[in-house]
Symmetry: C2
Subunit: 184 residues, 2 copies
């Protein structure tokens, strides 16, 4: 197999029944721009969790197949509550977890299992933080498989990212409806 | 109607198709002990989110019916990673959100809608933080409907809380499997 085919096979094995978002695996990994890399800070304890999205399994009775948890810095939350928008340079990390599910007294409950990968978005309204195929529509965009923090599998954000975000274009391409702490 | 019946009718209206956990609504509200009240700090931005549980709808194809998000102070996470247990006085808040669900390119995605209420647990291994029917098994326990922070509907934790937590008795009655940041 070519190096690219080997890599694709490995990615498919990691991702299993991939979500639509995982079409990002079409591009072989390359070094992401510094501003788009997964932050070195422990964002899960140092930043604010904006919200978690539960994605239903192919067989709904199995519960969730994935949980997607979104983080940003506290100062960005404060800026949004004051200004109604996020400042340039605001970084968002979305953890994609494969869900595990148990039958509990509360019901069929799903929770975070293994990490599939992480999406990073950085606000760039002025278009000054980067150029090229991972920047546009007011944002920088990159996806990183597993615990990878530098090498992104996002090639062109218009191909790899935008299709999933189009439903929320009027909300600056963010799924704000899932972030209760931003409500007033 | 008696005052108690009126209250029960109101609680049922708020809770809708109640989860097993909502059996806590059997008791009319009373002032909770200070240590068990919903913290006045903005725990959603100031504390750490340990994890979110997605609870499947009665009709699975509808997605999640609730999302349960658990928070504690950062110092408690650090203590757990060092000692393998939480210190006495560690407070845990679990937000219960009614889920909203949308068909998105990623799949059937559920996220936090309205707040049903909040569970508070405080670690009390030494049994020094409180006495009475809301304390026992190494913890204090209370549930608060909606945005209420003082008046709890938890009477006897053995009746109102323990049945849901029995499956994790060996984990000090906590659903640790859903908290990835506590894994080593």
């Amino acid at each position: 197999m070519s190096r690219k085919l080997i890599w694709l096979a490995a990615a498919a094995a990691v991702l299993g029944s991939a979500t639509a978002e995982a079409q990002v695996t079409k591009s072989p990994p390359v070094d992401a721009e510094q501003v788009l890399r997964v932050p070195s800070v422990n964002y899960r304890t140092e930043w604010v969790q904006l919200g978690t999205f539960s994605v239903l399994a192919e067989k709904p009775q199995d519960g969730a197949k994935e949980l997607h948890a979104v983080y940003t810095e506290r100062k960005n939350v404060e800026a949004y509550l004051n200004d109604g928008k996020f400042p340039d340079g605001a970084v968002f990390v979305k953890d994609l977890w494969n869900a595990k599910t148990e039958a509990l007294p509360t019901g069929t409950a799903s929770f975070a299992g293994d990490l599939i990968g992480r999406f990073v978005m950085v606000k760039d309204a002025a278009g000054k933080l980067g150029s090229g195929a991972r920047f546009g529509d007011g944002w920088g965009w990159a996806f990183f498989l597993g615990n990878e923090t530098v090498k992104t599998v996002t090639g062109d954000y218009k191909v790899d990212c935008l299709s999933c975000h189009e439903p929320v274009r009027k909300q600056d391409l963010q799924f704000l409806q899932g972030y209760p702490i931003l409500r007033k």
